[in-house]
Amino acid sequence: MAQDTYTEFATTGVGKKLTKALGLPQPAKLRRYRPGAPLIHGPVVLIGSTEASDALARHLLSWGLDVRRHVGPKEQVAAVVAMFDAVSTPADLSETVLAVGGLLKQLKSCARVVTVFRDPAQSQLPAERAARKGVEGLTRSLAHEMRAGGTANGVMLDAGVDVAAPSAAGALRFLLSGRSAFVSGQFITVGSDHGMLPTDWEAPLQGQTAVVTGAARGIGAAIARTLHRDGAQVILVDVPAAGEQLAEVTNEVGGTALQLDITRDDAGERILQHAQQYYGRLDIVVHNAGITRDKLLANMDAARWDSVIAVNIESQLRMNRALLDSELFSRPEGRVGPRIVSLASTSGIAGNRGQSNYAASKAGVIGMVAASSAELQARHGTINAVAPGFIETEMTAKMPFATREVARRLNSLSQGGRPEDVAETVAYLASPAAAGTSGMTLRVCGQNLVGA
């Protein structure tokens, strides 16, 4: 992985002064999740006195947080949760927004602002929809304004979903925690009251079995490690040629290795067979395996185009069919069913020069996830995509220095993410606490300036 020497330097005392004086980006050392560490250090201010906010406050208190309605003018604040769930016209935004604004200068580093509101698309009332849509806009802008590793994101609730629903709490906790270090300017939708909160927040995947494809290295290996850390038993899949590294990662996480070319017709069946044999269950499938074969479209050949489509999206469609047709992957346990998390890319959202094939496949993933959601939700399951932005991997380490340096800084956090950041989001979406979130694509990009 390429070392981000600039961030290392800029976070030292001298470096901080120097980069500030020069007007250079000031990447902060991000607060990342560590088992055993507190969820968040310092007061969490809850703004907006709706009835729902009381329910949410109870959750926050149960997590041992220092929840406040008000803080003194000098007090440092770790997070602000702003309730917009009851806005019916844009004028309603003002009070809460200004209250949030008043706290911004008191935010600690790596602070969190989370807005809670209802899905604009579900309102047919122009004023209400305008107000809800307004929350999106202000949240995104705020994300750009956040400093010192702070992020701003939103939790967007469906009409029928209670603010206190498990997945709303799950989303809020994820956004407050270090797990979402590289997620900013994003919205997590909660579409149902499916899901349940874990008894042990440090092992939310306890007792569950997960498959990760492309697990031999990079983001896939990080996902396997994170799922394992969160308590899951992991089946690590990669092509036979990557078997040596696959074995290393597998042995590290105490999982089982399955050498498999996912473009095989029977890849889904083989995964199911393996899961049945070794674990007797399959709860989580992470479609991480992917390849790039970059070329300007003018120079694109069939081999480059077809292989990327075959690996990055066709294989997933075929495997999902097999998975969803199986008994093993279909049975819901209580209010939680099977979960699929698929790796998309910001290239799939914004496009990227030389990546028409890759972008097509990744946009395809986004489409597939949205279209498959109903089928998964019907069995209390979920399917979501995660779209990484610039992540420091072996792959990006091969980029030319200047390109890499620019790509790193082109986001609100002024740095590249780590494979673990993607993995944390995958693990969150795979957790029972996110069972109410499905069909969406969540970006892990530090609010990349490119794209939406």
Binding site: G243, A247, G254
Partner: protein, 429 residues
């Protein structure tokens, strides 16, 4: 078949791709390779932290520093360090012997789980000093004074310093294995054509098995190699016919053995996981096949009374008799291709009325082996033959072939240096 207290189940296997000597694994040691094969096996079956009954493997060519090769290798894996491990050595039969003896331990209830296998490296073969130099060095070591030591060391002559590499020659005859086989091939009238055909079939079968993904869960890559690099998918009779004989050249026109119908020197390692039925079930592991029985034999080859590599013909006769089986009872045959002519001579012997009656003491010939059941996924001619690693390759391949065919039997024959041989029976489940 003979009733045993309980079944010894073959759960699966793992090997690293076999590499032609002085190639991809030139800088890898036996321990590196065996450790990698074991790590892959542990990963495949989720054995991290597991305390197994035993790990038994070996190497034919071994450094003296590797006196505890298998234990050291096992310690380099995530297996519970309290898993005992030991070295086994029976020339090319090492792997099969390790697996067979572990299967016996499982049947007897001495262990519940085990890994058997083997490794060999030509590229990292031990080079030793001459006996004379060794004697002088030992004398110097024993010396009680500096003077004595210097007097001992003063005996060293330049000629003593030439290192000795181990050869593949038989110590008692000075003949290489190939030369021995050439004599046997000539005796049994094995033709060049049939040897070349067998070699081509081996390459094609192996390539097809790779293509089918058969080895996806039997091999894990090592040192950048993900498939046996001796394999030539485009091997053809036309190409092979052009080669000149390399063994038995003093046979003149009857010299039939070429580089292509003989196994090249190869580096590699393999491992097979075995367990009792209960252990496999308790660990949610697959049960591919049972290791039913095995048999050794040795022949008096020194003065040419029997061919060096013909011992398995004797073992097969005894083993089949003991189990009340004939060749018709077998679904698949895995006959180690030390040389194409080895397989052909063994098969010819089993077909021979005279040999089976007079030499093996049977009432009738064992009969012919259906070629469509022989080495169906390739064998040593294509894959290569890192001596001690071949047994693990064969057992895992055959067990997978028989998986899902309960009660179907597989036959294994492996010849070994020193006029020895080993045969085994595997039963699908």
């Amino acid at each position: 078949m003979a009733a045993t207290p309980r079944d010894a189940v073959i759960i699966g296997g793992n090997r690293i791709p076999f590499a032609r000597a002085h190639g991809a694994y030139a800088n890898a040691s036996n321990q590196d390779m065996l450790t990698s094969a074991l790590k892959g096996l542990v990963a495949r079956f989720g054995l991290q932290g597991e305390q197994l009954g035993a790990v038994a493997a070996g190497a034919v060519l071994k450094h003296s520093k590797n006196f505890n090769l298998v234990r050291e290798s096992a310690l380099g894996t995530p297996l519970d360090p309290r898993t005992p491990a030991y070295d086994v050595q029976m020339a090319c039969a090492t792997g099969t012997e390790a697996i067979g003896s572990l299967a016996n331990k499982i049947k007897l209830g001495q262990v519940d789980s085990a890994i058997g296998g083997g490794v060999d490296s030509i590229s990292d073969a031990p080079i030793v000093v001459s006996d004379a130099l060794r004697a002088i060095l030992m004398e110097a070591t024993r010396a009680k004074s500096t003077g004595q030591r210097l007097r001992a060391l003063a005996k060293i002559r330049p000629g003593h310093l030439a290192p000795r590499a181990p050869g593949t020659g038989e110590p008692r005859t000075g003949l290489s294995m190939g030369e021995h086989m050439a004599i046997t091939a000539d005796k049994w009238g094995i033709t060049r054509q049939e040897q070349d055909e067998l070699a081509v079939a081996s390459h094609r079968n192996l390539a097809a098995a790779y293509q089918d993904g058969f080895f996806d869960d039997l091999i894990s890559p090592f040192n950048g190699l993900s498939a046996d690099n001796n394999m030539r998918a485009d091997s053809s009779l036309e190409k092979l016919t052009k080669l000149s004989p390399v063994f038995g050249k003093d046979l003149g026109a009857n010299a039939t053995m070429t580089a292509a119908n003989s196994t090249p020197l190869t580096d590699g390692a393999s491992a097979v996981l075995l367990g009792s039925e209960e252990w496999a079930d308790a660990h949610d592991l697959p049960k591919l096949a049972n290791f039913v029985d095995y048999e050794h034999s040795a022949v008096d080859f020194v003065d040419g009374a029997e061919g060096l590599l013909m011992a398995p013909t004797y073992a097969a006769a005894r083993m089949l008799q003991r189990n009340g089986l004939t060749f018709e009872d077998f679904e698949y045959f895995e006959i180690h291709e030390a040389f194409a002519s080895t397989v052909l001579a063994q098969m010819k012997a089993w077909e021979s009325e005279d040999f089976c009656r007079t030499t093996l003491g049977l009432d009738r010939p064992l009969g012919s082996i259906d070629r469509s059941r022989l080495n169906v996924n390739g064998s040593s001619l294509a894959a290569g033959h890192p001596f001690a690693a071949t047994g693990g390759r064969i057992v895992a391949t055959l067990a997978k072939l028989l998986h899902g065919k309960p009660g179907k039997l597989g036959f294994i024959s492996v010849c070994a240096a020193g006029g020895q041989g080993i045969t085994a029976i595997i039963e699908g489940r």
